[in-house]
Amino acid sequence: MSSSSLLELRGISKTFASTTALSTMDLTIERGSFVSIVGPSGCGKSTLFNVLSGLIQPDGGSINLEGRDVIGATGHVGYMLQKDLLVPWRTVLGNITLGARLKGKVTAEDRDQAKGFAEKYGLGDFLNHYPSALSGGMRQRVALMRTLATNHQLLLLDEPFGALDAQTRFEMQQWLLQVWRDTQRTVLFITHDVDEAVFLSDRILVMSPRPGRVVDDLAVNLPRPRTLETLVSPAFTEIKSKVLHQLHHERAL
């Protein structure tokens, strides 16, 4: 394992009944990188997340995260879904510290850290609010804070902005990049939105179904920080067209 790699998958596969959800996969993710996964439904991206998070056991292979074998174990990644899954009876602070509560008691440090996150990323005034008082974008911010507060290096984000309107989504994307840069985490990001994948990522994995596998691995060498200008640059369009091409090419088969 090279010193800069955070996660290494070797020979991971998963079959449900007679369907190969994930055919034998090798994958290395660099520490601090932002990697998007795109692909049609059934391409195995959710299975990959479930294996990584420990929810399901792969049929074979090894997963090495920060030097530890984590196959079948839970509690080692941050995880976030399209649904914010905030609990209505806990305040913003309570939701951010939910991970700590689920593993035991919420300590003063947990609370201070949560407050630090919230204040830094525009939620400082809402610490004491219940989620019902928040807008969709704010709720997703809280959900991401909760994911960060679990203090895991690897964050698995499964279409986190899929339910937001276009404008809010763009704000959230920029915000996510800021948070990612500040906190030096490693992000694996599932999306259907090719623009989003290109805009956010260092690297895009294109997956294809039957059997679920990675068919392309593209580097996104766009300069950071990324802005509105990035979205209309020729380099952006070029990468986007490559990804789209790969997706459509695959689908045409």
């Binding site: 509690g75 649904k83 939910l98 689920l102 609370r111 610490l127 004491n128 219940y130 019902s132």
Partner: protein, 270 residues
């Protein structure tokens, strides 16, 4: 809550009670209803106040039967709801049995209970609990069955064991539903106590006082005791609503109260 809404919340119910009493008065007066058939509202109230020294201890007994039975029923109901949710086999074995308990007419249940438990407070407590536990079980079960599956998955990914998932997520998630069961139970509880009193009582009871009043063609006494029974039911219901109000602040407030554990005052500077 706006001032207008507050006024409406207070005066709305009062107004509806006043209208109801007005209709009652109108029917009795204009319908020329004889006082031994139905009393005027004031006569019914007077039948309570002027006999309060007799009625107070009876009322107190009925309250005790109602409250004890309710608490036993609510605890048992919540426990059963959890058991049914957590042990799928139990849902098959026990659920039909629970429905069976509710199909038995309470009237038929009362005499054998008296045979076994005597004339004291016990058979009434059992009858009230018997009535109350079911809606509580159903609502708790419903609440637990509808906890967001993704939320439970998330908690698993976060490394939470099943006990923590239950305490931190499932229990509070079921609370809203729990209260709908508790409220239904609260309206039925006093009925159970009265059925128990009718089935058998040692000494006197509110139900027997009413039966005697009925036998003496004392309609004011009959309606008066009915008012007491109704009042017990309403007050208990309101107490449960009050408990819900306190226990589920997120349903009506946008922020938590500052005295809540750990939430130091947040200074807003804008």
């Amino acid at each position: 809550m706006t001032k207008k809404k507050l006024l409406l919340n207070i005066f709305g119910p009062i107004l509806s009670v006043v209208v109801l009493i007005g209709i009652w008065q109108a029917i009795v007066v204009w319908g020329n209803v004889a006082p031994y058939i139905a009393p005027k509202p004031w006569d019914a109230i007077n039948a309570v106040t002027s006999n309060w020294s007799t009625l107070a201890p009876l009322t107190w007994w009925t309250i005790k039967e109602t409250v004890y039975g309710y608490l036993v029923g609510a605890l048992l109901g919540a426990f059963l709801g959890v058991v049914l949710n957590k042990i799928p086999l139990m849902q098959r074995v026990l659920y039909p049995l629970l429905i069976l308990t509710q199909a038995i007419p309470i009237i038929a249940l009362a005499p054998p209970l008296v045979m076994i438990l005597g004339f004291g407070v016990m058979p009434k407590v059992v009858i009230v609990a018997w009535i109350v536990f079911f809606p509580v079980t159903v609502s708790v079960l419903d609440g637990l069955n509808h906890v967001d599956k993704d939320l439970m998955t998330l908690a698993k990914v976060f490394g939470a064991n099943s006990l923590r998932r239950f305490v931190v997520l499932e229990m509070p998630a079921a609370v809203t539903q729990l209260f709908s069961g508790l409220k239904i139970g609260a309206t039925y509880a006093v009925t159970g106590a009265i059925i128990g009193e009718l089935a058998a009582s040692s000494g006197s009871s509110l139900a027997l006082y009413q039966r005697s009043a009925s036998g003496s063609l004392d309609a004011a006494g009959v309606y008066g005791t009915t008012l007491i029974m109704t009042a017990i039911g309403i007050v208990w219901f309101l107490l449960v609503v009050g408990a819900e109000y306190i226990a589920t602040p997120w349903q009506r407030r946008s922020t938590a109260r500052q005295w809540r554990r750990g939430a130091k005052p947040v200074v807003t500077n804008n």
